[in-house]
């Protein structure tokens, strides 16, 4: 049985009832449009919110944690080898905050194929002196180029230029809220005092805004060497190495390997920020649920219209059957009609969805906490479009199946004799 004949009959029936067809197709178009828009927008927001934390968080952070020695002397005593040890008042060991052998570790990371990049960091507690008031703050020594490349540092600079902390000696970038408190602008000098009581004047070359106000109140950035100078440590003194992997999913495993390999503490992003995954997946789930509901509603519309069409076309179905079309052929004709509506409406829906989400993407969206975002975020993931068209075909197929089966069961004798 030639497929072309079935399709051409279906097509003629569709064209003959083009108004009904259009209404059915518009139902599908509308739901696919909303499905695409909703998912693109929701995914865009998810990316934005995750990006707030995840973009700036290293996949693995290598550092030395202040903690009790895991190997206590009693464990070495052969007498109590197989005993359970009760030790009271264990104190944290006097560990160096800097990472041992940091140069060698960085060299190893450079050659590791799983690693996208790394960036060394020193964190030091300081006081910013504003007249006779001391404001507690944290100064981070960073490699500004690596930091920008891996953790989008430059995106958060709202004033000045990030690279200046490398170019201008003894310079600093302040959190915008900290800058407001200190009443300084670019080119001004801030005084800071280290924990050991030494005072340093640093020139302000920029401000950054992370979107988290408490963070912006205390943080400041300068080059690694400047921090080393401030706290009086040698050039290999590094407290953190931030690693970005090619595949974020590998982080927990790689972190364990590094912990053994480099004898430092390693924290992976999944452990550090478990709550973000949950939030994203719940939001995605909700948008899928709404989208699929819309599609099912459209499916009922198609079901109704096909049912009506079958009642109208009883005579045609009867004569098709009388002249040799089997029930199966008739069923296929109506399924092709349903799928035609689904395909046409679905494709139009994809285009409209793209248009609508692009329109939303141009609506200004300014918020103080998200300095880099100027318009509503939209994620143009092709997967949404694929899911959209597949779902529209599945829904219309199911919606068409019952009326088509009914049509295939029509007894031509009853129709023809009824005249």
């Amino acid at each position: 049985m030639s497929q072309n004949l079935i399709i051409s009959i279906a097509q003629s029936l569709l064209v003959a009832r083009w108004k009904q067809t259009l209404v059915a197709a518009i139902g599908v178009t509308f739901s696919i449009t909303m499905f695409i828009t909703l998912l693109s927008f929701m995914a865009g927001l998810n990316d934005l919110l995750d990006g707030l934390i995840l973009n700036r968080t290293p996949h693995i952070r290598l550092y030395n944690e202040v903690k009790p020695n895991s190997h206590q002397p009693i464990q070495s005593a052969p007498t109590y080898q197989n005993a359970y040890h009760f030790i009271h008042s264990v104190k944290s060991a006097n560990v160096r905050q800097s990472i041992y052998n940091s140069e060698a570790i960085m060299h190893a990371l450079k050659n590791d194929k799983q690693v996208l990049g790394y960036s060394p960091k020193i964190t030091a507690q300081v006081f910013f002196n504003d007249g006779n008031i001391d404001i507690t703050g944290i100064v981070n020594g960073i490699d500004v180029n690596a930091e920008s490349k891996l953790f989008h540092f430059n995106d958060y600079i709202v004033k000045g230029n990030g690279v200046d902390i490398n170019k201008v000696p003894n310079s600093i970038i302040l959190g915008i809220e900290l800058g407001k408190k200190l009443l300084v602008d670019i080119g001004d000098i801030v005084q800071l005092t280290t924990a050991k009581g030494e005072r340093f004047p640093l020139k302000v070359v920029g401000f950054f805004q992370s979107g988290i106000k408490d963070f912006d109140k205390v943080q400041s950035y300068t080059s690694v060497s400047t921090v080393q100078k401030i706290i009086g440590k040698p050039g290999d003194y590094i407290t953190d190495i931030q690693v970005k992997l090619i595949n974020i999913k590998d982080a927990p495993i790689v972190a364990k390997q590094y912990m053994q390999l480099f004898r430092a503490d390693a924290e992976d992003i999944q452990t550090a920020n478990a709550q973000f995954e949950t939030g994203s997946s719940v939001r995605t789930l909700i948008s899928y649920a709404v989208g699929i509901t819309l599609l099912i509603v459209a499916g009922f519309g198609i079901y109704n219209i096909l049912n009506m069409m079958i009642y109208e076309k009883m005579d045609s179905i009867a004569i098709l059957k009388a002249t040799g079309f089997s029930g199966r052929d008739v069923k296929r004709i109506f399924l092709v009609i349903a799928l035609g509506i689904g395909l046409f409406g679905g494709l139009l829906g994809l285009v409209c969805g793209l248009g609508l989400s692009a329109t939303i993407g141009t609506i200004p969206f300014n918020t103080a906490s998200l300095p880099t975002v100027k318009t509503y975020p939209i994620n143009y993931n092709p997967v949404f479009y694929l899911i959209g068209i597949v779902f529209s075909l599945i829904t219309t197929y199911l919606a068409g199946w019952f009326p088509a089966r009914k049509a295939s069961k029509i007894d031509p004798v009853i129709i023809i004799r009824g005249k």
Binding site: M1, S2, L5, I9, S12, L13, V15, A16, D315, S316, A318, I319, L320, K321, A322, T323, G324, F325, S326, G327, R328, D329, D411, P412, V413, I416, R417, K419
Partner: protein, 226 residues
């Protein structure tokens, strides 16, 4: 003796709803190739019911039916559809043309379904049939834009497209005026004489029946005269 096209053996049929009523009672007859047979009888005598059984569309009966010496009884729905497509042509009281299609496409549809000839050949054959019936000038008109008599002739062309073994008609002239009835009858007669076409026509039009080769007269579900 010429070859048998259709043979009915002891066909019985009852309607069971709401009460069992016997509508066909032990019907047996044979239609040979090239015969022009009419079935007559009063309304309700079961002649249409018989036709739908013979046409394989109604499968709810007892007895046996042979078309072209092949037993039809007990075949599957899709197999019967193929038989109807290939071996039987239908002309009903109502034309049953598909309004969505042109006249030509209406005639072509069963031919396209048979899929024995290419689309171009089917089209060529359809035009020939229309020409034979004198309505080839209507080929490209939509089916709902032609007159009733023309529609019935298109329906005959559609019945002929696959060169069926037998053409079955259920009151094919029932809705037509005298002039158009005569045209349709002349076409049937021409088909038997020139193309040796077998015809089985149910009618209550006695003048129509009188001009056929053989009359099967029915009453109360039985054949009373043939």
């Amino acid at each position: 003796m010429s070859e048998k096209i259709l043979e009915a053996i002891h066909i019985n049929k009852s309607f069971r709803d709401p009460v069992t009523v016997k509508v066909l009672n032990d019907i047996s007859f044979v239609v040979n190739k090239g015969e022009f047979v009419s079935v007559t009888g009063k309304s309700g005598c079961g002649k249409s019911t018989l036709l739908y059984i013979l046409s394989t569309m109604d499968t709810d009966y007892e007895g046996k039916l042979f078309i072209d010496n092949i037993e039809m009884t007990g075949k599957k729905e899709s197999e019967l559809a193929l038989v109807r497509n290939e071996k039987i042509g239908f002309v009903f009281q109502f034309h049953y043309l598909l309004n969505e299609f042109s006249v030509l496409k209406n005639v072509m549809l069963p031919g396209l379904k048979l899929n024995k000839y290419s689309v171009l050949e089917v089209e060529h054959r359809a035009i020939e049939k229309l020409k034979m019936l004198g309505i080839d000038h209507l080929a490209n008109k939509p089916a709902n834009m032609i007159s009733g008599g023309e529609k019935q002739r298109v329906a005959i062309a559609r019945a002929l497209i696959n060169d069926p073994h037998i053409i079955m008609g259920d009151e094919p002239t029932g809705n037509l005026d005298k002039k158009n009835s005569d045209i349709v009858f002349d076409i049937f007669q021409q088909l038997t004489q020139e193309f040796n076409q077998t015809l089985l026509i149910v009618t209550h039009d006695q003048t129509f029946a009188d001009r056929t080769h053989r009359i099967i007269e029915m009453e109360d579900g039985r054949i009373i005269k043939q």
